[in-house]
């Protein structure tokens, strides 16, 4: 049976349930508008570890383990582990999950990794390659700043277009049996580069990729934006969201008030000084696992199109004058 319905989209035919979700977030995220939805808010973003990288790994370990336990599963029940993060060689996830002893695919989609993980996990289940899949993503503000930008204590100003990397990790268990919201369609994005060079304006770098995958999703599924209660991009922030509205609108895709962005939901930009919003792999991961997943279970919303977005930036290549390529993956998640 051929499940592909278009250039980018596949229909998940055998049921894939998101049977559990767990979210571990940092202090600042806990103080934001979604604070009460997270499973755990770390008072100390070091989580008792000696370095930021190790703390990031610890966020992974805790979130993934909690998701598994909530689903009533053990390490032996999980067929595959899919995870990724922003650190070099995906250090956050691999070091955090190395004790799990579960067959593992390390994935990288920058901040779109959570969407990539759910996409691949759902395809694995639909294809009959596994029954239970643990997948997720995470990031840490401090380790991300250290790797991609400047030292935290350097007395410089962040540009008004910048976003704030979310500290935390979000994980879900996908299963062929059980209950919960179902993954129904997956629209995989292409690499889109709109010629943006400013690493202080990631929303602008990624909005083109988000528009592309949104257009593909609606064209190939035949749905229209009104079908979804929530359409949530990953971490575009204010600038990126405005660009998506403009360019999707030009392509004939008009949103009612259902378009939002996990980066806009997670922080209160005015009081938390986060400029354009939240970003990072953890942004869509904890916002979905903590907030939207609970809203789906409570039937506050009946479906969501989650579109984690990623800037595929490499600091060395950027310094060589290259523009920033971007990616976005759309996953349709619906309550039965």
């Amino acid at each position: 049976m051929y499940k592909r319905i278009g250039r980018h989209t596949v229909k998940i035919e055998n049921p894939v349930y998101i049977v559990s979700a767990a979210s571990y977030a940092g202090k600042k995220e806990g103080e934001g508008p979604l604070g009460k939805y997270f499973d755990f808010v770390a008072e100390d973003i070091m989580l008792g570890e000696k370095s930021w990288e190790k703390a990031e790994s610890m966020f992974f370990k805790k979130a993934f383990k909690t998701a598994m336990q909530k689903a009533g599963k053990t390490f032996d029940d999980i067929d595959y582990l899919l995870a990724g993060d922003l650190l070099n060689q995906c250090g956050g996830s691999t070091f955090g999950l190395r004790d799990f002893k579960i067959p593992y695919f390390g994935i990288y989609g920058a901040c779109s990794t959570f969407g990539e993980a759910i996409s691949l996990g759902s395809m694995l289940i639909d294809g009959g390659f596994g029954k239970n899949i643990l997948c997720g993503a995470g990031s840490h503000f401090c380790s991300a700043e250290k790797q991609f930008r400047s030292p935290l204590e350097l007395g410089t100003q962040r540009p008004p277009t910048s976003t704030w990397t979310v500290t935390g990790s979000g994980a879900v268990v996908l299963s062929s049996e059980g209950s919960g919201p179902k993954v129904t369609y997956i629209t995989t994005g292409k690499i889109i580069d709109m010629g943006i060079k400013d690493s202080g304006n990631m929303g602008a770098a990624m909005a083109g990729a988000a528009c592309d995958v949104i257009e593909a999703h609606f064209n190939e599924t035949g749905r229209n934006p009104d079908y979804y209660d929530v359409i949530a991009t990953g971490d575009l922030g204010d600038v990126g969201k405005a660009l998506v509205k403009k360019y999707a609108g030009e392509a004939g895709i008009i949103f009612n008030n259902n378009l939002t962005d996990c980066g806009i939901e997670i922080f209160d930009n005015e009081t938390q000084d986060t400029h354009c919003g939240g970003s990072g792999c953890a942004c869509s991961a904890v916002t979905f696992s903590g907030y939207f997943y609970k809203k789906l279970l409570k039937k506050d919303i009946k479906n969501i199109l989650l579109i984690p977005t990623g800037a595929l930036m490499n600091t060395d290549i950027s310094q060589q004058g290259e523009t920033i390529p971007a990616i976005a993956h759309a996953v349709a998640i619906e309550m039965g």
Partner: protein
């Protein structure tokens, strides 16, 4: 989404329109007064040392030591970055900014050891300033040698 060169240009133009700008005037005022305050403190220190009849060299050395030491301490206490957020160039340009640019990476990389961590990464921000500052001083010295003899 089209990705033709024409579309990209138009997109980049839209990005400029939709992106908020820095508050240049406010930033300049903060930079002027904060940078000026640091220089004023330096001058007050100089006057104090001069009143003790210290030599010119010794006075300059002591003033720099105190400013650099204070900046390093404030960086370590996490206060310099808070000041920098408001003051911008006002706290970057004076010698205190230079100390901050060396201490801040040192704090982060000490987890990677004293040699390949702290020692190697200490100059990631300040390195270019040293390289081109020293190069410029050599060039100026050579020019001065030939012109002023």
């Amino acid at each position: 989404m089209e990705t033709t060169e024409k579309k990209k240009k138009e997109y980049q133009q839209a990005v400029k329109v939709l992106s908020p700008n820095s508050h240049i005037i406010k930033n300049c005022i903060w930079a002027f007064f904060s940078g000026g305050t640091i220089c004023l403190i330096g001058h007050i220190l100089r006057k104090i040392f001069e009143s003790f009849n210290y030599s010119e060299d010794k006075t300059a050395l002591l003033v720099n030591l105190i400013l650099i030491g204070s900046s390093a301490l404030l960086t370590g206490l996490g206060l310099y970055s808070k000041m920098g957020k408001k003051c911008g160039a006002g706290t970057v340009v004076p010698i205190t900014g230079f100390a901050n640019s060396m201490v801040s990476p040192s704090i982060e990389y000490k987890t990677q050891g004293f040699i390949f961590g702290l020692g190697a990464k200490m100059f990631t921000v300040a390195g270019p300033v040293l390289v081109y500052g020293i190069t410029a001083s050599v060039v100026v010295g050579i020019v001065h040698y030939f012109i002023a003899g």
